[in-house]
């Protein structure tokens, strides 16, 4: 397949607000089930091990007309819950047999309760992850939460979810994470070869595709991309941060690149990159998943940083590792975690003399010209500043 063909396929999946791929996957075999999950992190390995399809639910984007959803929320609450409600009340999520709501923020947390009130016939679970990273305390709590989720999924599946099932799923997701790391490494090395809107679409495809197909898709893309030589532009290299939950319009990502910025790292779809190393495939699989969360998971605004000295370190390391020249904070309006975190991250960058700029967006932002101008000015200032 060519790059264009792969990207077109991903774009079709991105545009499909009816989750037809999920419907087809379920229809292909009697008894198949699909479980939706909101950002930022759930252990998809458990869903897969129960024979079900994990489906990332990321709101309605800029193509969904939100009519009912707005009636559920005040004007000062972000967009993603209202468009997610819209997807549900218009029947688009009927293909899901359950929904997981991770401990991302108060809005996603309360959305789990709204689901409990409105969609009582489905498996609905708020999934708590520890903010305590002592393996004997937070780790023990988390292992038990994983066990409890495993039991609920087993009940829905009507069969046991064995350790071997889980180990096999962990192996598949390890492979998927490796492929994604290759994609991100390639973009970091040659960003002109891997435009960020394409990376985004590839990652979004992984929210609805079976994991092995997604791994193959990324590998096919990498193979095709290396054969396609694209022009190098005089762009600066930036890390974008803050897009971990409510999704940016695709046009926003295009605008950033058109404004003269190569994105060399991001926080899209963190569920697929959350665990930074391979999870062991021998031993107790729940403990392995728990240890991975405690020992080598990503950092984002939804996660507590136990030591003051470490605040912002993860972002700075990303800047250094990817030879970025600056950071763009793109935060959804009314996003408490991202917006409360931002001043601390900005201070950490300032201390390291790393330039940054910041703006807000909503999933349905239509006016991208101001963002393009701001990103363009930022890119120009980096170039001038670097030259000096």
């Amino acid at each position: 397949m060519t790059v264009e063909e792969i990207v077109r396929r991903c774009q079709d999946l991105y545009d499909d607000l009816d989750f037809k791929l999920v419907q087809r996957w379920k229809a292909a075999e009697k008894g198949r089930k699909a479980i939706g999950h909101m950002p930022v992190y759930v252990p998809r390995e458990l869903i897969h091990a129960a024979g079900m399809l994990p489906v990332g639910i990321l709101g309605g984007g800029d193509q969904l007309d939100v009519i009912h959803g707005d009636a559920y929320y005040q004007s000062y609450i972000c967009r993603i819950p209202r468009s997610t409600i819209e997807l549900a009340v218009t029947g688009r999520l009927d293909c899901l047999d359950g929904m997981l709501f991770p401990s991302t923020c108060d809005v996603i947390r309360n959305l789990s309760g709204m689901w409990q009130l409105k969609f009582r016939d489905k498996l609905i679970r708020y999934f708590d992850v520890p903010q305590n990273f002592d393996p004997n305390i937070g780790g023990v709590f988390y292992t038990q939460e994983l066990q409890s989720l495993r039991d609920e999924l087993a009940e829905l599946a009507g069969r046991e979810v064995s350790d071997d099932d889980l180990r096999a799923s962990i192996a598949l997701y390890n492979e998927n994470r490796r492929a994604i790391r290759e994609l991100y490494n390639y973009r970091s090395a040659e960003p002109w070869q891997v435009p960020t809107p394409e990376v985004y679409l590839l990652m979004r495809a992984g929210m609805v595709m079976p994991v092995n197909e997604h791994t193959a898709l990324i590998r096919n893309y990498l193979a095709a991309a290396t054969k396609t030589k694209r022009h190098i532009k005089d762009n600066c290299r930036v890390v974008i941060n803050g897009l971990f939950c409510e999704q940016p319009p695709l046009g926003l990502l295009k605008s950033i690149e058109m404004a003269g910025c190569y994105v060399v790292d991001d926080d899209f779809m963190l569920v697929a990159r959350w665990l930074l190393e391979d999870v062991p495939t021998t031993g107790d699989p729940l403990k392995n998943l728990s240890d991975a969360f405690i020992d080598f998971s990503m950092e984002t605004s939804c996660k507590y940083v136990p030591e003051k000295k470490d605040k912002g370190k993860f972002l700075i390391e990303s800047v250094r590792r990817n030879s970025a020249e600056g950071v763009i904070f793109a935060s959804p309006s009314f996003c408490d975690p991202a917006l409360l975190d931002r001043p601390m991250l900005q201070n950490a960058l300032t201390a390291q003399r790393i330039p940054y700029t910041a703006f807000k967006y909503a999933e349905n932002s239509g006016q991208l010209q101001p963002i393009r101008e701001q990103a363009g000015t930022f890119a120009d200032s980096i170039k001038l500043w670097s030259a000096a």
Partner: protein, 435 residues
């Protein structure tokens, strides 16, 4: 108590309110002089606060939300918030946080005008609100002191599981208590904790009696505007002290006396004459225009008979009491049980019960821009409660401490329309009964 006799307040206040004011002022004095007196200071949040535990280490307790609330009532929060926004904090986020940070940026002078010293330990009891976690990190960024964090899991399925309780107790034992010992230099004494917990339980009994007095008609209390005063000591730096036990006994006696005389609640303009509308209110109040806001209710004969905000620092009216026999487990249960740590269905059940048990005529949401923990989902809660009870529901929007988000004309207009709707519905109901 004869405090009222010795002072000339510009508005009518219950003696208990004045006693509480004296307690709060004394705490600010204690904070201001703590370091001079060789005492250590803890800073912690209201929901899930571990006051009894902190007292075991002789720590003077500072509560940032109370500082923000007090700054709001004293018309200082607007300036603090704008200071924080000038410093890069988004206009979209919690104004308690910004008021606190703005106050720090402006020299860390507390609401009483006395300096608020740097805390020696920051204790985050992370209960029912993610913003606390970020607030804690932001405050930590300003100080160089010890920190302890307590992650309290969310009661998503309406129950406390063994795993949740075990997790909280393990954090207390292995991390929080050792940190408090380190900072204070005082060894933990579990019997001392038991003593404080026993005091807490006595005060909790009296608080519940006071809150449930609103089941009477007329209610002798307003369970929202008055209620925020009543829950003040038990939610903050005083739970577990003998003063607090005495305060709640005095409050109970005061309310019992009003009940015996068939009197309504005391408002800033005196005792409320006629109780026309009984309400259950969900959500925090606005602090910047607290008295104006209250007046919009009592001028129309509307009284609040039950509220969710008076459960934000602990839900006691469904049976929970601090239990000295199980000191750490009871602290865990307390933290897990605070109102905003309950799921939306559990909150709907609780409010529906209030509507029934307190014979309410309507359900009102005061939706707060700052507080997603409360606000996200309130419109669905409103519909559910309206459907379950058949009583009219109303919705207004204000903010905690940002004066820019309190629009008196809009709020008054909405409230008046809502009260008219309730009265019309009541009149129709009475007419049907008479027929």
């Amino acid at each position: 108590m004869n405090i009222a006799a010795n002072q000339q307040p510009d508005v009518q206040k219950e003696d208990s309110m004045l006693l509480q004011k004296a307690m709060i002022n004394a705490n600010y004095e204690a904070l201001a002089s703590a370091h001079d007196e060789g005492k250590k200071i803890s800073s912690t949040f209201v929901p899930g606060n571990l006051n009894e535990l902190l007292m075991c280490f002789d720590l003077v307790r500072n509560l940032p939300e109370i500082n923000a609330l007090q700054a709001g009532m004293r018309k200082k929060s607007g300036g603090y918030i704008m200071e924080a926004e000038r410093g890069g904090h988004s206009e979209d986020v919690c104004t308690y946080v910004k008021s606190d940070l703005g106050m720090m940026a402006k020299g860390q002078v507390g609401p009483s005008g006395k300096p608020l010293p740097t805390p020696d330990i920051l204790l985050l009891s992370y209960t029912g609100c993610f913003t606390f976690m970020k607030w804690f990190e932001l405050v930590r960024d300003q100080y160089d002191c010890e920190t302890a964090m307590l992650h309290v899991p969310y009661q998503a399925d309406g129950k406390v599981t063994k795993n949740m309780r075990k997790f909280v107790v393990a954090q207390l034992k292995e991390q929080v208590i050792p940190a408090l010992e380190r900072v204070s230099g005082i060894k933990f004494d579990i019997d001392r904790l038991r003593g404080y917990l026993a005091e807490s339980a006595k005060a909790e009994d009296d608080l519940v009696w006071v809150l449930q007095s609103a089941k009477n008609r007329p209610t002798p209390i307003d369970a929202y505007f008055g209620g925020v005063y009543y829950c003040g000591p038990i939610f903050t730096a005083f739970r577990g002290t003998k003063d607090t036990t005495a305060y709640y006994r005095a409050l109970r006696d005061e309310v019992a006396a009003r009940l015996d005389l068939g009197l309504g609640p005391v408002t800033p303009d005196g005792a409320m004459d006629e109780e026309r509308i009984r309400l259950v209110v969900e959500g925090p109040p606005n602090w910047t225009h607290f008295r104006d806001f209250w007046k919009m209710f009592y001028d129309e004969g509307a009284v609040v008979v039950a509220s969710s905000y008076t459960k934000v620092g602990g839900v006691y009216d469904f049976g929970f009491r601090h239990d000295p026999e199980h000191p750490l487990e009871t602290l865990a249960d307390y933290c897990l049980g605070c109102y905003t740590n309950h799921s939306l269905p559990a909150r709907v059940d609780m409010l529906t019960t209030y509507m029934d048990e307190y014979s309410a005529d309507g359900f009102l949401v005061n939706s707060i821009k700052s507080c997603n923990s409360f606000s996200a989902g309130q419109l669905l809660m409103l519909r559910e409660i309206e459907e379950r009870t058949g009583k009219p529901a109303g919705f207004i929007e204000t903010d905690l401490v940002d004066p820019r988000y309190f629009s008196p004309a809009n709020v008054k207009n909405r409230l008046e329309s809502y009260f008219q709707m309730i009265e019309q519905k009541k009149a129709r109901g009475n007419a049907r009964t008479a027929a």
